[in-house]
Amino acid sequence: MSKLNSKIPSGPLPEKWMHYKDHINLVNPANKRKLDIIVVGTGLAGASAAASLGALGFKVKAFCYQDSSRRAHSIAAQGGINASKNYQNDGDSVYRLFYDTIKGGDYRAREANVYRLAEVSGSIIDQSVALGVPFAREYGGLLDNRSFGGAQVSRTFYARGQTGQQLLLGAYSALSRQIKLGTVEMYTRHEMLDLVLIDGKARGIIARNLVDGKIERYSAHTVVLATGGYGNVFFLSTNAMGSNATAVWKAYKRGAYFGNPCFTQIHPTCIPVHGDYQSKLTLMSESLRNDGRIWVPKNKEDVEALRHGKLKPKDIAEENRDYYLERRYPAFGNLVPRDVASRAAKERCDAGFGVGETGLAVYLDFAAAIKRLGKKAIEERYGNLFQMYNKIVDEDPYETPMMIYPAVHYTMGGLWVDYELQSTVPGLFIAGEANFSDHGANRLGASALMQGLADGYFVLPYTLQNYLADQINVPRFQTDTKEFDEAEKQVRGRIQKLMDVKGSKPVDYFHKQLGRIMWDNVGMGRNKAGLEKAIEQIRKTREEFWKDVKIPGDVDGLNPELEKAGRVADFLELGELMAMDALNREESCGGHFREEYQTPEGEAMRNDADFMYVAAWEYKGDNVAPEVHKESLNYESIEVKQRNYK
């Protein structure tokens, strides 16, 4: 029997969350102190969860692999966070944010969760302001908004180009306060390497202290994973170097189903690849598409002349430019959703109109906006992004258009969760980018920050209580049990196995190889033959890795190569699952584009009759095919349509 019970509360959509909150079981303050919660990850989702749960009175242990909880990858988010405040009086509402998110996700997200997300979005802004987040303001002192892709209203709140940093510093400050108050214990430079189950319930973790290499045991009544996304499967992505899938992958192997692993977001505006030594790709925020216009030359002669430096972008006359997004999607123009913008860029470059040395780039041009608004206004909006671009590329975007190309950015897939954010392992909750969440097959810009903080500030504090309410008499768990012994033994065994390979190639060699397989076959365009080939190649690379990887140094000390090796070993398994999921989904939807399924105009063609479901994969053992379970999606409040941004 399938364990997929989404536990969507009954009642009309707008009343579900209220109804849920009104009827859950609560834990009284004296009992909260007796209940332990482990939160792995201190990005927006984890930090806000740990701080809120600590403030409620639970005993929380929080973990992150960085040297400070404030350095989680959320810090890098640039553009902004959505909320349906309707401060601009431009027609926004909870329903509209809900609708845009479902539509943006190409009708592959769960209605009830998305509605709740839209419903609590306003409170996130209130909470963040109260914590001192210096959002951008208008001269009258009110909060300012900008618009983002996939929406026709301005609902995005921002703090210059550093919105993630400021929101995270807010959550981090709340977390720091709880640490001072003694409700939260913080473990930095600790990496979770396994999940411990007792009687089928999540009751602890095994973590490696990254400084001295010690393997440590931690127990709790419940475990929350807020460990971020797995975009680094592709090696090159906009994610931080350490972003990884290890925690969720171990949980998958302990029984948590993996939801829609193939749903990956390729972001249209990133700085193009420039060399094989390259370690990561840098995002240029989507907010730039508010004022930047995307184009390539109309004529191939101009493409050639540009490549050989005989012409500069400025020299190409208006009538010889192809503003292809404005041409193809007049209603949304440069602000179409990311998947649409990325594919359109690929289409132009594949057709031979790409610019730059490699032909894999398009222009993002601010000349018109600078003329209209003045350089100062542009500087105020995007100053730090322009500076970042300038430092990397050595060109001044105030003078010449940026060159951009799509890059892997975000993973909509993740561990499957029900309405309460509980996985198929009882007592294991998943928050933020780590869950398969609310974004369906494509996430709209500025919605990840919203989701992470919604999960942490406003959802988990209720749903965890409901889970814990009947456990007030369950005493604290000891860690000297056979379950912890077994898990620790596995962790140690695997580390030793990695060290014992003593091969000839560094970890990155295999990671880069995996990345290329993924990008070529499980990237922006996918097809049956390519996916089958990818699965075969990934298996080969994995075998080679376990035969030939070389990890110098010791296990009992700081060893970055060993850390990387463990993560890449997991990516080498997850990559295969992603390809299998992509193969299984014989339709195009959102970021998942199967070349066999497209309209004559090259737009994604969904197959609602056969694929309107969440694919939740169950681990069945190493070298055994995983089993796919299906949660069918029912749309009660929204009419399912072909997405149209024309």
Binding site: H73, I75, F135, Q165
Partner: protein, 258 residues
Amino acid sequence: MNFTLKIWRQKNAKAKGKFVTYKINDISSNCSFLEMLDILNEQLVVKGEEPVAFDHDCREGICGTCSLYINGRPHGPDDAVTTCQLHMRKFKDGDTIVVEPWRAKPFPVIRDLICDRQAFDKIIQAGGFISVNTGGIPDANAILIPKEKADYSMDAAACIGCGACVAACKNASAMLFVAAKVSHLALLPQGKAEASERVQAMVSKMDELGFGNCTNTGACEAECPKQISITNIARMNREFLGAKLGAQKKRASGGGGF
């Protein structure tokens, strides 16, 4: 491009460290400094030597994890960037480059180029927050904040907590970091209520952790990758003095408690 690297190697916190010289050739000028170190490390691994450990994560100048002291300057020769944003085009072919960790007593070296900066977190935990719990918050637009105020606050809040200010200062003072944090909150109406407790708690934690005094050399501002201004230090000093006077008055009047 070809370079000679003199890199600080140290096995762990207790071991004695030393400089080791490496040669590295055929580096593209578009390569970032950390990518150059990646290449070096790959070569070391293949040779069976232990790679150089250095801290990094976002590689786009925002997480504040990277932290190298390059040719005598925190984050190297370019202005207003972190090490991860530094590119080899800022060096000359054939250069010798000296790479060290941050050197400051409150930031002990853990291994090679990695040091422990938890002291910064401890300062924040002492009081670098606004005391609100989750929920029950009035509407965000209920408080009007003049744009100028919000902008100044944001200028201070842009601090990435990398520790370059401490590394740059001959006294290993953390004044710029603490001042940025204090200013960010003190400039906002939400942060006013606890302003005096906050500044006192943070400053006394800073002293307790062994950071040195500020002697106004301005080295911190010059080396800050986010160009945080030392006017924040002046603001913090005013806040601090005001808080101390306030506390004295409170004591003199019997604490105002009945």
